[in-house]
């Protein structure tokens, strides 16, 4: 009995479309997983490894080979010398072996090192286990023969092969929870978390409020509107490093114009160290964040404002609504959607911000946020593992945010 009814499953057309779609997406998926997904997994791996900045290169045996004694004629004595060392000052290499083809035209003169043997023109040595920083020199006495000078021999012609098992900290089975302990240890972590939240909340809200004001200024057309709009976007478009240094210079305690101005206006008696004092520095970096990102909120809010039809305002005017009432009861409800989306997005990106604080204060004077802490731990303290542990904490916070984010975003603006 054959089924009668509409066809089920995907037809050949739908299947070929899906195949094409995946074909088009594959390069992106590959690239992104290589540079985003893989490092993310790596971060989790590294966060449970006891690894510091100096451990990043796997220990290996370094070998130099030369012929000493300057033989000038056949029959001259010389010494074939191998200098070896363990490249890592701390890690052990086990079962080190050396292999080199015996140079043509040289004959062994005297005792060969007991750990070595020559068989079928191959010199091979078994050098045992080396601890960190170990050095070894092998001297093999030789006499030169005529063939050495005929072939214009050089001992470095043939590459020396060394082998040994080193345990590389990033790939071995050694795990530790020390990184997380050191991150959460003491009150410092919660201090950092508090600073991050202050910076994120006030930076986001401040930028939104400023953006709202700026967009209200430009929400009617007048001469020079385009110029002002372009001008107000400057802080966002300029390279962060340029504007950060301009701020540092402007607020310099010794030769900054801001201090000179304040002193001259009688606001303060002595110069203020804006980026160096404890509560002030955090306020300053938050102000910088607001200054730099209000243009973005401004752009989005302005775009939304300009799409609100003017009929509504005319009707409200007829009904006697005052300008403040019009703003509060008509504009605000219309803007709520874009404001909440901007808040959620900016909240996450402000949380992720690294460059600004790093350039302004380097995380000093009570401005160390989580992202700067990653850098501090990994590079200033050179404890890569602890840096990765902080990164894992950041990632966990972000997962938490994105749950909220998608709950709200799907309803708003159809993202």
């Amino acid at each position: 009995m054959s089924d009668i009814g509409p066809p089920r499953g995907a037809g050949p057309l739908a299947r070929s479309e899906a195949r094409l779609a995946w074909g088009l997406l594959t390069p992106t998926i590959l690239a992104v997983s290589l540079v985003v997904i893989l490092p993310l997994l790596a971060i989790f791996w590294i966060s449970v490894k006891p690894v510091s900045l100096s451990d990043l290169r796997a220990p290996e045996t370094v070998v130099r080979e030369d012929l000493r004694g300057r033989p000038a004629a056949p029959g001259d004595e010389a010494t074939l010398r191998y200098r070896l060392r363990n490249s890592s000052p701390s890690s052990e290499i086990t079962g080190v072996t050396l292999e080199d083809s015996w140079p043509e035209g040289l004959a062994l003169a005297g005792e060969l090192d007991p750990r070595c043997q020559i068989a079928e023109g191959i010199l091979s040595c078994d050098l045992g286990d080396w601890e960190g920083g170990y050095r070894e020199t092998l001297n093999i006495p030789v006499v030169t023969e005529q063939a050495w000078f005929d072939t214009d021999g050089d001992v470095e012609d043939t590459p020396v092969e060394v082998d040994g098992k080193a345990s590389f900290v990033l790939t071995n089975g050694e795990f530790t929870l020390k990184n997380f302990v050191s991150v959460f240890d003491g009150g410092e972590f919660f201090n950092v978390l508090g600073v991050t939240l202050f910076y994120t909340v006030f930076g986001t809200v401040g930028a939104l409020v400023m953006g709202l004001f700026a967009s209200m200024l430009l929400n009617h057309s007048f001469k020079g509107q385009g110029i002002l709009r372009g001008l107000y976007l400057f802080p966002y478009v300029a390279p962060v490093i340029a504007v950060a240094f301009a701020w540092i210079l402007l607020f310099d305690p010794f030769s900054g114009s801001a201090n000179a101005l304040l002193v001259q206006m009688g606001v303060t008696d002595q110069a203020i160290n804006f980026f160096g004092e404890r509560p002030l520095a955090l306020i300053m970096v938050t102000l910088f964040e607001i200054w730099r990102y209000f243009p973005l909120s401004f752009l989005f809010i302005l775009a939304r404002m300009q799409s609100i039809s003017t009929d509504m305002y005319e009707a409200a005017d007829m009904d006697g609504a005052s300008p403040f009432q019009q703003f509060w009861y008509l504009s605000m409800p219309q803007l709520l959607g874009i404001l909440s989306v901007l808040f959620l997005l900016r909240f996450i990106w402000t949380f992720n911000k690294f460059d600004d604080i790093f350039l302004l204060t380097g995380g000093n004077a009570g401005t160390r946020v989580l992202t700067v802490n990653v850098y501090e731990q990994a590079f200033a303290v050179s404890n890569i593992g602890a840096g990765a542990a902080v990164a894992v904490v950041i990632f966990a916070c972000l997962l938490l945010f994105s749950v909220f984010f998608f709950k709200f975003m799907s309803k708003e603006e159809g993202l």
């Binding site: 997406l25 290589l34 985003v36 490092p39 796997a58």
Partner: protein
Amino acid sequence: MKHLRFGYLTGPALGVLWTFVIAVTVAVAMSFATGEAFRPSLTWSVIFGIPTGLALVWGGTTLVASAVLSVVYFIALSLGIGPVLTGNVSSVARVAAAVFMGIGIGWPLKVFVEELTMGALTRHEFEEAVIRTLKGFGYIFFTAIVVIPFYVMVMTSLKNQAQLMQNPLDFSIDLSQGWGLFRSYVELITEFNFGSYMWTSFYISVLTVFITLLFAIPGAYAVARLRFRGQAAFSRSILLIYMVPMIVLALPIYIAFSMMGLRNSITGIVMIYPVTTIPVALYMLQGYFRGLPAEIEEAGLMDGLSRLQVILKITLPLSLPALASVSLYVFMIAWNEFLLAFMLLDDPSKFTLTRGIASLNSSEIPRQHLMAGSVIATVPIMALFLGLEKFMTKGLTAGSVKG
């Protein structure tokens, strides 16, 4: 609020407010321009602002108000009283400050209080006047906070260390030096290799744009147009990836690059930059592609074009404005990128511009060099932005709130 709604109260209140705003503006502007001492005074603003506000509600025109106030403020400045106090400054500066004050107060304030009458005001009239004043303040405030840092940046780059230390407020430049003004820039390019940094930054940015588009266009098309399982999940994960902080990725990338020997190489940078911009570009482009009418493409399909031909011959030509926006945005990200360049590049011969500026930040290098470097990095991106502002603003609003 209700008690304020009388012309004889609102006028003076706005007069005081605006007089003080302009007094501060003039004091800051004149200090920055001349380096001389100018000081705003709140008390004097109240004393001068009340009659000004009252008079303007009562009558007068913008022209008369500006002229009268200019004269009044010139006399006040000379006598050492008034909303702006100053020491012994040149008469040119005094005239400039007085005219600045007169026009800055008289003209806008007349516009603000134009509809007000001496007696009781309607709520509408009252709020209109207040909002105008607030807007006036807004224009000055936003323009000042945006312009001052850039002004300081440019002017500092034209001075020398001794002048800067002597009077940090004196940004007047000595035009008689001619080309000597630009000696910081010349030194940066001849001695600090900034010409080559600029070139490196430029070609890295251009390469990033091309590679990004190469990946993002097919991906965005697939997400926007083609039906396949997991389409919705895919568009969401683009947004998610967009939210991973760079510093979290930078650490493993640093380790991997150290082990593979890609650190300190342009190749490594060119491999990384596009991947950070692909999600943004893909997200922006797919939004645009969705907005294009599907019927045109279907007509193309019916006429015998293959999907790839449809993309090349129909979709791409139609989305040229969006491609321009995306390219500009990606170029800006790559040009301004600092973190990865800072972590991955150590060799001065391979620096990008931002990395080069970071290397100028030391106590041995004079600060005007640092600012000149900042100007060099800022000017091209600003010029590009102002020239193509329409594309840029569109690109920025097309789903890229990242910064």
